[in-house]
Symmetry: C2
Subunit: 249 residues, 2 copies
């Protein structure tokens, strides 16, 4: 009897945004795995930390920072091999995932290696995109809006056409592309419609209109939301609301 | 001292997909409001039911079925008036929302009427879109994919161009447009890339390749996910996985 593999979405960072289901599974799993940088703490582990106990075997999957965006597949070959030894021993394995496991998550690399051989269950989580809209105090999308999620590393031409075609846009993986993306949004005349959220739901969260961001760089965990909706949403007003209405933790 | 308004995302339907935060707030709120049809139970209330007690005042916001898509704004004027009486009396009000409050949710109508006058907090929830990808056993989007969320009621030309331009697509609000949308996906040669999920995360959930759907109509709570990604995802294989791997509840 082999163990069961879980991909657990833990939400955007606030440990209270873990679901009851993920909480139950992560508290009980004999083996807990998570992505970890080569130096410093694992963000996924930090989200779950309060619910882990010393009875659990922990398996950090070390992904060197310099390749974090598209990590070498050998890392996942090796991790899958390690996890399969636990699964073969009949132990359930919970893989901790920031946000949602299948929304631009690295869990897919383990899923494609292991789900054919072991019973597997994905527990969806709260995405940082939903949390960013909550923090900005404005809808992500409404009615019959087309919402496009656009990774920031894409080239300007692609970004421009995708932003043009949608009523609402979430630009993810902003990070070191921030300066270029902001210039593009400005050139498109959309700055007044754009909100910026950094480290959403964490104590160090920042929420502000894009026009008010002083820096030229942004951390990896940052996002720009654009809403062109006809209902007069105003980025600075929304950010003001967010601050005054206690939407920053 | 006025009360605080909460917009609580309750997730796609499985009561265990409520977050710890939403659970804490909904258990303690003296007043609980939720959208309800003119006949039959409220889906949002059903998700939360196990955590409600008879001490709480319940405020159903009745939205007649025939206008459920874009309800008359007078309904929300009246609901805001009712909730403001509780808030003025110093009572916190939790508005229960299916999925995530700001992802195509009707909570925005109350938010725009009340957030300027009362302290307001949005608690993001697990979206049915993330739950659908989990149920299908395939990533929603990965790497630098553009993911577009496209409401099914849009016309064929708009649907076609948005599906063309994205690497991954979630078609929401499928319902009575199912037949037309399936024909369009077939004409675009994308049927083999499309998965269908109905009433995700509920006991009556159905997960299957689009090609295997026998009916010509779909319920309101259904979704089609298309993934064109280069990594050889196969809709029927994924649905097979989903079934065999216990991803159906």
């Amino acid at each position: 009897m082999t163990g069961k593999l879980y991909g657990l979405g833990l939400g955007p960072g606030d440990p209270e945004l873990i679901t009851l289901k993920a909480h139950r599974i992560l508290s009980a799993a004999p083996v807990v795995a998570y992505p970890a940088p080569d130096t410093g703490p694992s963000f996924a582990r930090q989200i779950a930390a309060a619910h882990l106990s010393f009875h659990q075997v922990e398996v950090p999957i070390v992904v060197p920072m310099r390749v974090e965006r598209f990590p070498a597949q050998e890392i996942y070959d090796e991790a899958a091999e390690t996890l399969s030894r636990h699964l073969d021993a009949g132990l359930d394995v919970a893989v901790l995932c920031e946000g949602d496991p299948f929304f631009y998550g690295s869990f897919m690399y383990l899923f494609e290696r292991l789900s054919g051989r072991y019973e597997t269950e994905i527990v969806p989580g709260v995405s940082s995109m939903m949390a960013a809209a909550a923090a900005l105090g404005r809808p992500l999308a409404a009615r019959n809006d087309v919402l496009s999620i656009v990774p920031g590393p894409l080239d300007d031409e692609t970004l421009r056409s995708r932003i043009d075609a949608a009523g609402a846009v979430a630009i993810i993986k902003v990070g070191r592309h921030f300066h270029r993306i902001r210039a593009l949004i400005e050139a498109m005349g959309l700055t007044a419609h754009a909100g910026y959220v950094e480290r959403v739901s964490l104590p160090e969260q920042r929420v502000l209109p894009l026009s008010a961001v002083a820096e030229d760089v942004a951390p990896y965990f940052s996002m720009i939301l654009i809403y062109k909706g006809g209902e007069g949403w105003n980025a600075s007003l929304a950010a003001e609301n967010a601050r005054h209405n206690g939407m920053t933790p």
